[in-house]
């Protein structure tokens, strides 16, 4: 795979190193002269000096044959435009953008830049996972496919405790795909009984979270075991 990475800061440099170690071809583009020089020794011809938002710089890096463009500069406008041009002008199929300021996430979405990764959001999600205060954890959101996978801890007062999976009439667009119990997970059969303290994984159409929470954690809090 050939990947172009815009921005040779901490994120870009480490990504480039990992991808090269995995045997991929990488070009790093860095617009600050001093940062470029600092990386030249390690990356040699795989790092180029230039502003990746300029078309000729991307063309010099061979964007026409890139399989993946990753924009991880410290500037959200730059990241948006690098990805937009890569996708829409050079028809690069896969782009990944870094969101520096989570408040700019909407702008990435508006201009069709997906996936857009924000360190703040990732850490928040980890915190949610470690400390599921709301009982519901988003594990994965497939925005283009309009599907998501969530995890819910079953509270003792949930109406589904003691019910067989086959008897739980979930709304259209929701499916239990796994149950975690006693530290291990399994794919439920139709006669699997839901127990308090189980963690159930569901695949959902977006917008069903609230309705589903009522089935497994009606008061919004996980069981205090």
């Amino acid at each position: 795979m050939y990947a172009i990475i815009a921005g040779a800061g901490k994120v870009g440099r480490n990504l480039a190193r990992e991808l090269i170690n995995k045997g991929h071809e990488v070009t790093l583009i860095e617009s600050s002269r001093s940062c470029y020089l600092a990386n030249e020794d390690e990356f040699e011809h795989a790092v180029q000096y230039g502003d990746a938002t300029e078309l000729w710089v991307l063309e010099r890096a061979g964007i026409q044959r890139a399989d993946l463009v990753i924009a991880v500069t410290g500037d959200d406008e730059d990241n948006i435009l690098v990805c937009q041009v890569a996708k829409e002008k050079y028809l690069c199929e896969r782009v990944i953008a870094r969101v520096n300021n989570p408040r700019n996430h909407d702008h990435f979405r508006l201009l069709g830049i997906q996936p857009a990764v924000s360190a703040t959001d990732l850490i928040l999600r980890l915190i949610e996972h470690e400390v599921p205060r709301y009982g519901l954890v988003h594990l994965l959101a497939l925005e283009e496919e309009r599907l998501e996978i969530i995890e819910l801890e079953v509270s003792p007062d949930a109406p589904t405790v003691g019910e067989r999976v086959a008897d739980i009439a979930l709304p259209e667009g929701a499916l239990i795909i796994s149950v975690l119990r006693g530290g291990s997970g399994f794919v439920p059969k139709h006669d699997t009984m839901i127990e308090a303290g189980d963690e159930v994984l569901l695949v959902l159409d977006p917008g069903l979270e609230e309705a589903i929470t009522a089935y497994f954690a009606p008061n919004g809090h996980p069981a205090a075991f």
């Binding site: 938002t53 300029e54 730059d78 041009v85 408040r103 508006l110």
Partner: protein, 169 residues
């Protein structure tokens, strides 16, 4: 029968302006932005200016007999990527949006936000980089590239003979 005065340029312009008085939002009050703001206000448009630097307000007052606000202008301090600042500056009612900050990339992003999120019909963007000015024009933004004009003018200034030849041919 009363004599109808022959239409004059100045009259036509006034009629035109009356018909198309717009709410214009200008982001970036540097030399270009502030000058465009002043002339738009003087030609009867409603004008709101957004800039992150409160000092840029002085450019709007410079050389005017009344302050920017007294002349009917609006000024908001804020960053263009902040949706709240754009809303405060009136983007929801804007008929035209001018992106004239010092950064090409900021201009290109905010003009697209104006167009796609707030449905502003006329989004005019200053893009120094001629190559991207061309490409984004094809994508439906009205781009203005001062660099391109400068290049043209320098070329013409250098080769007066060439333009003469052109006229002869």
């Amino acid at each position: 029968m009363p004599t109808v005065p022959a239409p004059q340029w100045s009259n036509l312009r006034t009629y035109g302006q009356l018909l198309i008085s717009m709410f214009v939002l200008i982001v970036g009050a540097g030399r270009v932005g502030s000058a465009v703001a002043k002339s738009a206000l003087a030609s009867g448009h409603e004008v709101s200016v957004l800039d992150e630097d409160p000092l840029s307000h002085e450019r709007l007052d410079a050389g005017q007999s009344k302050s920017w606000e007294d002349s009917g202008g609006q000024f908001t301090v804020g960053t263009a990527l902040e949706t709240d600042a754009l809303i405060q500056a009136g983007i929801e009612h804007a008929d035209a949006f001018i992106a004239s900050t010092a950064g090409d990339n900021t201009n290109l992003v905010i003009a697209q936000i104006a167009q796609k999120r707030f449905g502003v019909e006329k989004a005019i963007v200053r893009v120094m980089d001629p190559a991207r000015a061309d490409w984004y024009r094809e994508q439906g933004l009205q781009t203005i590239s001062p660099t391109k004009h400068a290049i043209d003018m320098f070329q013409r200034a250098l080769e007066p003979a060439a333009s003469l030849q052109g006229e002869v041919a």
